[in-house]
Symmetry: C2
Subunit: 242 residues, 2 copies
Amino acid sequence: MARFFMAATNLAGGRAIIRGRDAEHIRVLRLRPGEEVTLCDGDGMDYIGSIVRVDENESEVEIHRTEPSAAEPSVRTTVLAGLPKGERADYLVQKCTEAGAADIIFFQCTRCVAKPNNIEKKLERWRRIAEEAAKQSGRGVIPHVYYLEDYGEVLNKAVHCDLGLFLYETGDRVSIREAIEQKPDAATAAIITGPEGGFEPFEAELARQVGLSICAMGPRILRCETAPVVALTALMYGTGNL
Amino acid sequence: MARFFMAATNLAGGRAIIRGRDAEHIRVLRLRPGEEVTLCDGDGMDYIGSIVRVDENESEVEIHRTEPSAAEPSVRTTVLAGLPKGERADYLVQKCTEAGAADIIFFQCTRCVAKPNNIEKKLERWRRIAEEAAKQSGRGVIPHVYYLEDYGEVLNKAVHCDLGLFLYETGDRVSIREAIEQKPDAATAAIITGPEGGFEPFEAELARQVGLSICAMGPRILRCETAPVVALTALMYGTGNL
């Protein structure tokens, strides 16, 4: 069944009007009145309905029922990544969307080499990448992408999740598997990873003090854009979502 | 401790001569006689020794002991991927190297859109990427990268592993977690994934008939360059290597 993303506000009254690129897509797919489509609100709900009208510039869908998107994992995961340079951030957004992240937050920390110049423009770009990847992979949620300048806020976000994983390369750590297996039924999780240069010891120490699990992912060193995808996959596996 | 890759043949006689870029690297790191270094043969063995001489164009290391590389996972994994287009192949090689693959094989199948033109030149490029990624991530093995034209040979490679995972998007499948949990002590494993267009049903059916596990990875659809990394991470998690 064809799937389209649209803001929930358009779905009032049991009918939805589809315009713009999605309307064009409906014409390209030669969908006709009577055919079933799924409209996703991009926030985890699917609206299943049938087409009642296909016009030049818009189509109309009558909604029959709503249900939570079946493609969404049981754990709502926020990926928090030290802002990496250039293409690495694009890649991170795309792959973490495919792998099931619900929110992707870039943040500033001591060893970041990337400058947060034009961050609004970059956020626009990352949000487009997230939307594209969510559509392609059949997600029911378009991950929210944003930016935090305050490291304290980053830790604060993670502390409020059932499972807070802080990936770090050295010192006293548990394996990510051990950390996940302590909370296999977590409904919310956070994954924090560093930028190219990693974290300063005091940043890791702060994470430990607020109660996050300081985790290792085996003896191999992962690039800053690879680590979140691997951690997210480990989480999906350990919580029964793979 | 600094790590350098070199062919095992250079390590004869308990002494190793380091030339070229690695010798330059030793000078850049200002390593001095007496300092310990690790030389990897790129095939899973580490040679630990100390520098005895640093010259303009070469350095000499005296080997004290050899041991299996601690960075290698317990399961030797061959990733077999339907040949994807352009940069996707580069990405796949880099990320699968980081995630712990021992061999990476691209193959031809019905729905491949990428043409195997200049495959020798491409293989050279992929091997360089694998070597670079192996060094950066501290691997003890540089994955062997090669190309197979015969789909029968692909299945044959997988059949001879303790665990053969065939990733497929539809039909009767087990979850990848179920498949891995049946053989958590596998010493060898194969992961087969399709190209952009996926597999033809008869290709999946052949895989089933030769006894591979036909696996799903959740309800989300992964890109052809993402699926092998996610599957490899699931395997590392399930076999206790994460």
